[in-house]
Symmetry: C2
Subunit: 353 residues, 2 copies
């Protein structure tokens, strides 16, 4: 059995038997019941994921998968492809947005070259796991072979397992890859009930003309690959990217080990959607960090029936949303673990009527 | 001239002359322009408030004003009045929700007894500035005399000035006071174009019958005090609370010294509204932390034409929303100060077309 199959088989639905015990403690804390809103939903979900009455947050890590895309040749992005490798270097230098936000919330960053077109020398900190220097152009055929997509997914699984081994108790997804909103939109269009237009946006900032062109490119990719769009993994191979497959693996690996994953933005959500199609149980392990300003992200949330934690109009990716939301999740767990109860604090309870 | 008048007179509109310089640096950072959404709005506002090209965040402090309300006798809250003093003790013990969240974001808490009905002995950490042990019942007349309301406002101003002297560069508002959504709703009804019903909610969790009763109580308070509802300060004296007046002072004191204030939830917003009516220039110095689940908070945002940073369905007060939003604001300032520019990182810029 492949590592992929083994991991997928070991993902179990979250065990709800602790629910009443968790709620009992939550409702004994010195605050009106329910008055912390979404933070209380987070507490319950976090507890059920970990299966612990006193869940703790240990290490926090954001894994940034970087890769290039053959479809960049179609002119779907506002930036040249070289920017992928340049931004990987920028992240390794500690100077990108995701670095600032990860430092702010005290999370580690791990950067994985899973398919960047350029070559890196001996760059401190970079994890070299290049499957191939970029995907094939999806308007001409499938992005990855079945062997390649499995290798990328298994790389993600290994990243999750390495992190967990080192004491990480919550993982965040991140990515860098010029043109990667295009494969993401294609995945949404293939996996959700929606039109291409509904899930195609401006990415890093293209104009109206390029936006229209991008939608045509995605339609062509769906048409060219239509015989391949059978299983979720085949759809990922046909339309996806190496970084998207890596994120899929990270999510699957985390869920198999009952570790919560904070899903970043639009691209990470496309990966999350693939994993939810691979296994019904995955969704319970996911926290969706924020609603991106990228058109279509709202559609994704509506159709999947989930709600993001933040809505800050961000559309940068990298793991920036995951970093900020991770801090809200940690705050929630601390509320549960650190607050006094009505009894311990000697605070009178709500009046009977 | 009173301290109050002097402070109000020294509040100046924010100086927009740095705007282009701030935006120039922001747009040189290694990210698509505008891709950090609300964080970028925060950066600009923060820079303009402080008037510094490289604004820094030094000390962060949440000031929790605690007071009781004569109107509690009307049965408008789900909790008995004794809970105010008990929760003050809980906060001083470090065990309330606001303590957990303030620790999480590395902010200090300062607790001020500005009008609690109970007496405290030698309680470590409590700042004793009681104007009076609770307001008068607003259904029978004005809550505070003009002398009392000014003393409470000036207490808030002094809290701001003390904090700034100690190196605090961003202040958050907080409060504790059983029944204090009732005076807050009354203030909204008196100061906004809205009905009493639109801004009257369930507070700590009252049932339908009590909610209806609470609206009647507020209407009675507005009717009984109708001759007093002339200036913002007179309206505050007639309908408000000592903690609300304290928050007003904190905001005015901060704005006068160009220090940003993070406004917590429903009650703090009522105080913020009073200050915006006192001085047109105050609004620019305020960050609204979150949209409370309390009915009417959304109306406040719409009518004032402002947008909160977070929307987490919280309705606890204490300063809990201010703590979480303070962290987002700090993250934004760090983005501006710490990220590489396209030039410094050697990252290629956006394609010309």
């Amino acid at each position: 059995m492949t590592k992929f199959k083994r991991i997928v088989n070991s993902i179990k639905p979250i065990d709800k038997k602790l629910e009443s015990q968790i709620l009992q403690h939550l409702n004994s804390l010195t605050k009106p019941q329910g008055s912390l809103g979404k933070l209380e939903d987070i507490i319950l979900q976090y507890g059920l994921i970990t299966g612990k009455i006193k869940p703790e947050i240990g290490g926090k890590q954001i894994v940034v998968f970087a890769a290039d895309h053959g479809v960049a040749a179609e002119g779907v992005s506002a930036y040249p492809q070289e920017v992928t490798a340049q931004m990987v270097q920028n992240i390794l230098n500690g100077d990108a947005a995701v670095n600032v936000l990860a430092r702010h919330v005290n999370a580690d960053i791990c950067v994985v070259d899973i398919g960047v077109a350029g070559t890196f020398g001996d760059v401190p900190g970079l994890i070299h796991r290049k499957v191939k220097p970029g995907t094939e152009n999806i308007t001409a055929g499938q992005a990855m072979s079945n062997k390649e997509v499995l290798k990328a997914i298994e790389t993600g699984i290994e990243m999750a397992e390495d992190a967990i081994q080192k004491g990480v108790t919550i993982l965040g997804t991140g990515e860098m890859g010029i043109a990667n909103t295009t494969p993401s939109s294609a995945l949404f269009a293939a996996l959700l009930p929606c039109s291409v237009e509904e899930v195609t946006g401006r990415g890093t900032g293209i104009n109206d003309q390029k936006l229209n062109h991008k939608a045509q490119v995605i339609k062509k990719a769906l048409a060219v690959n239509k015989d391949k769009l059978s299983s979720p993994v085949n759809i990922l191979a046909a339309l996806g990217g190496f970084e998207i497959a890596g994120i899929c693996g990270l999510i699957l690996g985390a869920a198999a080990h009952r570790i919560p994953v904070v899903v970043d933005g639009f691209i990470s959500s496309a990966a999350a959607l693939v994993t939810c199609k691979i296994s019904d149980s995955v969704k319970d392990y996911l926290f969706f960090s924020h609603c991106s300003a990228e058109e279509g992200h709202q559609i994704f949330f509506e159709r999947l029936g989930v709600r993001p934690i933040l809505d800050l109009g961000m559309r940068l990716g990298e793991g920036t949303g995951a970093a900020l939301a991770m801090s809200i999740i940690e705050a929630s767990v601390k509320i549960y673990n650190e607050m006094a109860t009505f009894d311990s604090a000697g605070v009178e309870k709500k009046l009977k009527k």
